[in-house]
Amino acid sequence: MSQGPDFPEIVPTARSMSPGDFASKVFRSQSGVESRVQYGNRAFNKTLDLEYSNITEANAAAIHDHYLACKGTLSFFSLSLKTNSGNETFHINDGGGSTSNRFGANAFGLRYHYAEPPQFNSVKPGRMSVTIKLVGVLEA
């Protein structure tokens, strides 16, 4: 997997994160008793949805160009500090890649990719809204 440029330094207006799940399988007996077997020690398919409402066209263009620079959903990339701002105790931007960087991916052995192409909506001259969906996958 190739690495793309870092995501632009733009603070989102809304953010939604799901930490993903660990690889496991459930075996259920006829009596209903379940046994769960863990197949991996790292969660994967972490999702991070970012909304940028009514941002400037320059910022929308930066997101668009970043998507192309990452060759769409192909390359992985790192988030910028501003992408994670707003919940300073949940996500501690200590720069060390620790597991307190809870919105991030690297500390969990993951790489963020675009899950799908971003959506760009025109609001008025000079203002646009952008929705992006990222997925954190385990690196090879």
Binding site: V11, T13, R15, S53, N54, S85, V123
Partner: protein, 133 residues
Amino acid sequence: MAYFSGKDGLVSFGGNNVAKVGNWSLSTTVDALEVTDLSLSDRTFAPGLRSSTGSATIFYTDDALGAKSLLDKIVKITATSEADITTIKLGWGIKGIQSSCIITSAELNCAVGEIMQATIQFQFTGVLSLATL
């Protein structure tokens, strides 16, 4: 400093002053686009789209400079079309505001003991401009 009162007001339609106007009003609003991001604790906004509407009450007369010519834009047997977009000027003293507009509603009232009058409401389209009367 000059004050203006009702006698200074007028409504102009298609370049001609409408006779017997009882009142007019103009309302302009601007959408507030929320641009609050996750780093802020207070809601912040940017100006969005602007919209202007107006209304006028006109004492009904059946001539070209009366309410009938305005009512004909909407109360008629044929469908309304782009051709019904007209320029309305709202004035006071020697000043005024004008723009193209669509007449969005017309109400005609005729009651015992009262002069027949029409109330029209209109939606301005495009930017307003200042006019000298």
